[in-house]
Symmetry: C2
Subunit: 136 residues, 2 copies
Amino acid sequence: MMKEDKTLSIGGLSKLTGCNIETIRYYEKIALLPAPLRTQGGHRLYSNSLQKRLIFICKARGLGFTLEEVRNLLELINGDYSCDEVKHLVLEHLNVVKTKIDELARLQSSLELMASQCAGGDLPDCAAIDSLFEKE
Amino acid sequence: MMKEDKTLSIGGLSKLTGCNIETIRYYEKIALLPAPLRTQGGHRLYSNSLQKRLIFICKARGLGFTLEEVRNLLELINGDYSCDEVKHLVLEHLNVVKTKIDELARLQSSLELMASQCAGGDLPDCAAIDSLFEKE
DNA sequence: TATAAAACCTGTAGTAACTACAGAATCAAG
DNA sequence: CTTGATTCTGTAGTTACTACAGGTTTTATA
């Protein structure tokens, strides 16, 4: 028995992937997801391979890749990619993520410092605020 | 001797704050930075108090506050704010930042796992990629 | 089978926080 | 006084979507 190709409506695909309907149509518009077949009434019907492609897109987005990065990954995969190339993109992205974490961590310390300088209470006077008005 | 009020052109202000010119005009357009006086030719002239206000905006943005949050902070400060109110906003924002750090940290692990599954080499076959095409 | 409700269609506009022009006017230096 | 740098306004583009409006199709129920 062969696995039949269960097509899905856009709503079904949305449920499957967690990606919402307008977003799916948006991905089609920017040619990230190929245009699917239609019913004779014009409703979209997604084949199994399109379903997989959207799953990929959503997961990669969830990992913080930009749409352009996702596009690159998909092109790589559709051509004859090498594991090296993929790994390269992943590691590059990993660096972006690490940098963001560092920035946020610095930011966290600044905010904590700010909160600690803020004595609290009703007084209209706050060292934390004052410091924000000074250059340097 | 009183401190004179050294006005700045928009370019000077841009240099002082590191905020670029179009952004300064943008802040004016959205009424975050009040409209400054003009030369008779129509060029903007920024008073000391506007300079301070922009410094504040830039610093708060640098701390990751959204423009709306910055607007709230400024209103608070211009009204008769209490230290409590400010502290509240700061702590709230601190939570947002912490949450973002957590998310990114999770993302970092996923990417590290992905990279480690990627064997490297020229082979067009990658467990890391394959996993992205599966649901769940 | 008729009809009503749910899902879907296209196209446009809005979101955040800017950036990037084009084409004209003004300012500062020599 | 001229030339080059700066500034002016206004509009459109960016990223990654979301939110309509107003109409058609599909599906479920009576």
